[in-house]
Amino acid sequence: MSAFSAAATLSLMIVDDEAPARARLRDLLADIAVEVPNVLVAEAANGLLALAAIDGRNDADASPVDVALVDIRMPKMDGIELARHLARLEHPPAVIFVTAYDAYAVQAFELNAVDYLLKPVRAPRLMAALQKARQSRLPSPQVLARLQQEARTHLSCHERGRLLLIPIVDVLYLKADLKYVTARTAEREYLLDESLTHLEQELGERFIRLHRSALVAKDAISGFEKNGADDAETQWQALLRGIPEKLPVSRRQWPLVKSYAKQLSS
């Protein structure tokens, strides 16, 4: 964060789904270029495209983005979720949230002392926010998690210096090993640095707990079978769509899982 001094040119990114809103910010940034030297390096129409643009710059060894001006309500991936994924980057940009009107978000920002701008943005406010952004860092993951109203659409993990995005609809199950949580898709596994408990809280609508250390996507369950080896300790296993693995169901969770399975078959 201290890499750029006060006089250095800020490299900026605008993320907004409305083209006129991006144009407006572009105009304003040009207007204040004398006071706050800045260069616009990327524009994106939603969170996913923004992450792709940042990834592209990474590959091209371009300088990292210093500040991202991020709209909150966007399709595909909203601004808060974008910030949560950005937080996993090695050099995350400072994020300034921009919103037209979002009573919930504004209240949450005030509570958590997160800086934000209201549309239509005024040049002096933008200038002040950019100057502040030089010193500020991203809100902590906990704060961002609190700001988010809906569940994320993607999980992210860091792998060999890159940020990988895993669409939650593709995740078959989440499993806690000793230190990590693994997310399994039909293709491969990803290591996440989040706790299973938090993931369950956030994604509880889509996933169901099979045992202490496994959450499975409800629509990934194709059936159940008995682990018939020994009769005394019969245990149920969940069969999954698309992959040969079977996940054991703990005795404690079985009644709950069973009632869900009944709902499914009926």
Partner: protein
């Protein structure tokens, strides 16, 4: 009566500790007793005698109930309106039965379950009649209430839309001043419509024009993402409709159907007349399963109630999600309005 149920804060139970209320109850019930005495009497001659006989039983019961209600008043106020009303009726009926049984004990009455039941029914009916009177009185004395209700029910534009539109217009001023001018004019018209007196019905043509202006503004900021298909066939454009009946529904469609979707979406608006009914269909794509915000249902409930206030049972509004053959989901709103070509439907 449904609107009373939906607005318990507006028409609560009467305050039983209020002297005026007590007086009204006393006079009202005695008036009922007078009427009952007249029904029972053979001629005008024994009318008063009958009333006095009846009053000997009615007055103690009435005073006892007034005392009880004055004590329980604040408790009853806190209950849902229907429950409070039911309790008052039950109290009156039960105390009537008890008093008659006491009369029998004092050898003033023959007793018997038929007489007990009759006393209970009379007590309950008198209480119900008084409650009905108080409810009607509250309505009659607060026309402001109905007016405020209609005002409150008329749709308000989402601030989200206002600020985003202003922002879009600002972005146009330098590059396309002409478009910015048109947009501001549209915005002005829209707000003029919003601030108008909403009690009067307006021609359907005006509402359609307003919707077009609104959608033009949305297109300004959403660009290609919003496509609109109008289908207006054989529609009496001079038909009077409640103002801002369609615009809030279109706003919902854009907010919930088009904006959250990253892909382009089509909004279909279809007007069709069949006989004495005008059918209006609004269709928008559903982007996500979890998109059922409460605001949506509130707008629908508001419009439904406004239609009821204007047309009573002659108008219908149905809304729901449908799965298309190719798996895509749509949200459809279907409105049916009576369309007789009379000068003014019901004002």
């Amino acid at each position: 009566m449904t609107s009373i149920k939906q607005n318990p804060a507006g028409l609560p139970l009467p305050d039983f500790r209020n002297f005026g209320v007590m007086l009204r109850v006393l006079l009202g019930v005695n008036f009922l007793a007078l009427a009952a005495a007249l029904v029972q009497s053979a001629g005008v001659g024994d009318w008063l005698q009958r009333y006095v006989d009846m009053a000997a039983w009615v007055q103690p019961l009435l005073l006892f109930n007034l005392l009880l209600l004055a004590v329980l008043g604040s408790l009853l106020q806190r209950l849902p309106l229907w429950l409070g009303q039911l309790l008052v009726v039950v109290l009156a009926a039960a105390s009537a039965v008890l008093l008659l049984d006491f009369w029998r004990f004092m050898a003033l009455d023959d007793g018997g379950w038929q007489r007990l039941l009759r006393a209970g029914m009379l007590g309950g009916l008198a209480a119900a009649a008084m409650l009905f009177y108080f409810a009607m009185r509250a309505r009659a004395f607060s026309p402001a209430l109905a007016e405020a209700r209609l005002q409150a029910l008329t749709a308000r534009i989402r601030p989200h839309f206002l600020f985003n539109s202003l922002n879009a217009v600002l972005s146009l001023i330098r590059s396309e001043p002409r478009r910015a001018e048109t947009a501001l004019e549209d915005l002005a018209e829209l707000f003029r419509a919003l601030m108008r007196d909403h009690r009067e019905l307006l021609p359907l043509a005006d509402e359609i024009a307003l919707c077009r202006q609104y959608l033009d503004l949305e297109k300004l900021r959403l660009g290609e993402r919003l496509r609109v298909e109008w289908e207006v066939v054989d529609v009496p454009t001079d038909l009077k409709v409640p103002p801002l009946m369609l615009q809030p529904l279109l706003e919902n469609a854009v907010y919930h159907g088009i904006e959250p979707s990253g892909d382009d979406g089509v909004l279909r608006i279809r007007f069709a007349r069949s006989g004495d009914e005008l059918h209006i269909d609004l269709t928008n794509p559903c982007s996500r399963g979890s998109g059922h915000q409460s605001g949506n249902h509130m707008a629908l409930a508001n419009i439904r109630e406004r239609l009821a206030l204007h047309y009573d049972l002659e108008a219908r509004l149905e809304a729901g999600e449908f799965v298309l053959a190719d798996g895509r989901r749509e949200y459809r709103v279907h409105i049916v309005l009576p369309c007789r070509l009379s000068r003014s439907p019901k004002s």
